[in-house]
């Protein structure tokens, strides 16, 4: 209800302008109706949920780091750059939400200073390699989020992580045409266990 109320005429005009300027792909990524982030004041969470939150924080740091490098690489087209900027912003919002959840439970969230990420050789040397990696990382994030959403026992956290999963799927779809990847395929996308997600993340940490 709040979200609908917040959808002002100005916002609608901005959305229209975005459509004209950048095409349908970017509009699909534009924040619709200033959606309110989920409530992060979930209080103390059980240990299993906290483990998932820690893992997802690291995954968000990975994608934040990746899009930071992608934007700095100068390899992306103007449209892809706008996509990447918005995705980068979304990932930072996910990180901020999850960090607040962990802090509310007394945990100390990891920051970019705590992890060194590594990427396949040449990942940032061409638009195609960069977009391929974007698809890989978005798919990884989607599967990890889906696994978390189905495994955590706190309903509000499960709902919020499902929202993040949906957003990662949007990111993947946004880059799929340029990366010549399938837009979608499975009716039920793969969902990772925490072990599978952790092992997949390990491939990008040094």
């Amino acid at each position: 209800m709040r979200a609908v109320a917040a959808f002002t005429r100005a916002a609608a005009l901005r959305g229209g302008a975005a459509l004209l300027l950048t095409g349908a792909g970017l509009t699909a990524l534009a924040p619709t109706a200033e959606a309110t982030p989920p409530d992060s004041t979930l209080g103390a969470l059980p240990a299993g949920d906290l483990a998932y939150v820690r893992l997802l924080i690291a995954l968000e740091l990975l994608t934040i780091d990746f899009y930071g490098h992608a934007l700095a690489s100068g390899q992306l087209s103007a449209v892809e750059t706008r996509h990447a900027r918005l995705v980068h912003s979304n990932e930072r919002d996910h990180y901020a939400f999850l960090a607040r959840v962990l802090a509310a439970s007394g945990g100390v969230p990891l920051t970019s200073a705590d992890i060194d990420f590594s990427y396949p050789h040449g990942a940032f040397e061409s638009a195609s390699s960069l977009l391929d990696l974007a698809i890989t990382l978005e798919t990884l994030s989607l599967s990890a989020d889906l696994g978390a959403a189905g495994s955590v026992v706190t309903p509000a956290l499960s709902g919020a992580v499902a929202q993040i999963a949906a957003n990662e799927a949007q990111h993947r779809a946004a880059f799929a045409p340029a990366a010549k990847a399938t837009l979608f395929q499975d009716a039920f996308p793969e969902s990772f266990t925490i072990e599978e997600a952790s092992n997949a993340l390990d491939a990008y940490t040094s």
Binding site: L50, R54, L55, A72, G74, A78, D114, D116
Partner: protein, 264 residues
């Protein structure tokens, strides 16, 4: 101004400190002191300076000895909490952080349990060796397991608890257990005998080492010179060559192309 005996003594002491510092910066050896250091520093400290007499063991064991009046001049711990406690008791001077480390899992080269992930340590029948909880590396291990929510499952497989990290490493290298938690720098000391399995970055504790001059040391200037030597550029480079991490993460070095090459 009259030169009192106290002032002359102070001047001599100051000159001695200055000389010791200068000597350490110049790469000269500091001798005549005893350094109590964490077991994980066994290889790197003598490489930084072969002059002192070293005693390597678990940081908690060394701290207990210092509290009992052991004749140490410098104390170097694999964490910051033990030195902070000794400092609060007036037993050491203010500690300084000097390096960082990470934890890894080591398995025997033959890897009889087929361990490829930390989650494999939860499987029934796997034998795991850890350091006791009072030892920094043992405390860090428990922190990792708690953060990953696998503590009870892994602890059910723990067959032994050691008094320092090198004992864990030794048991794994000898094939007496299927896996153990050690610092990454320890794993590098026996490359042909163990295989390293990553501890996930998202569960890594912040492992920071701190050191200080022992308050009752009769060799204050030499002890301080050794601390300065470890903190010096040469000392830090030597730590890095043994796999220790700098206190501050260096700037990222991923090659990027200039932005003017954007495509239309």
């Amino acid at each position: 101004m009259r030169w009192t005996r106290t002032r002359v003594s102070a001047l001599i002491a100051a000159v001695a400190v200055a000389c010791a510092v200068a000597a350490s910066v110049a790469g000269a050896s500091v001798s005549g002191i005893t350094v109590y250091a964490a077991a994980s520093l066994t290889d790197v400290f003598p490489a930084i300076d072969s002059g002192p007499t070293y005693s390597f063991a678990g940081s908690n064991t060394l701290a207990a000895q210092i509290q009992l009046g052991a004749p140490a001049d410098v104390f170097a711990s694999a964490n910051t909490t033990i030195p902070a406690t000794l400092y609060a008791k007036g037993l050491i001077e203010k500690p300084v952080d000097f390096t960082r480390n990470t934890l890894v899992i080591v398995v025997p080269k033959s890897n009889p349990a087929g361990i490829t992930s930390i989650y494999d340590l939860t499987k029934p029948g796997v034998s795991v060796d850890i350091a006791a909880s009072g030892v920094p590396v043992g405390s860090y291990t428990l922190q990792i397991l708690s953060q990953m929510n696998i503590k009870s499952a892994v602890l059910a497989n723990v067959v032994s608890e050691e008094t320092d990290v090198r004992e864990v490493l030794s048991k794994v290298a000898l094939g007496q257990v299927d896996a153990g938690f050690v610092y990454s720098t320890d794993a590098q000391t026996v490359p042909g005998q163990v295989t390293v399995v990553k501890v996930p970055a998202w569960a890594q504790p912040k492992v920071t080492y701190a050191m200080a001059v022992v308050t009752k040391s009769p060799n204050q200037s030499s002890a301080q010179a050794f601390v300065n030597e470890v903190l010096s550029k040469a000392g830090q480079a030597k730590l890095a060559s043994f796999g220790f991490l700098p206190l501050h993460k260096p700037k990222e070095t991923i090659a990027t192309k200039p932005p003017e090459k954007k495509k239309k």
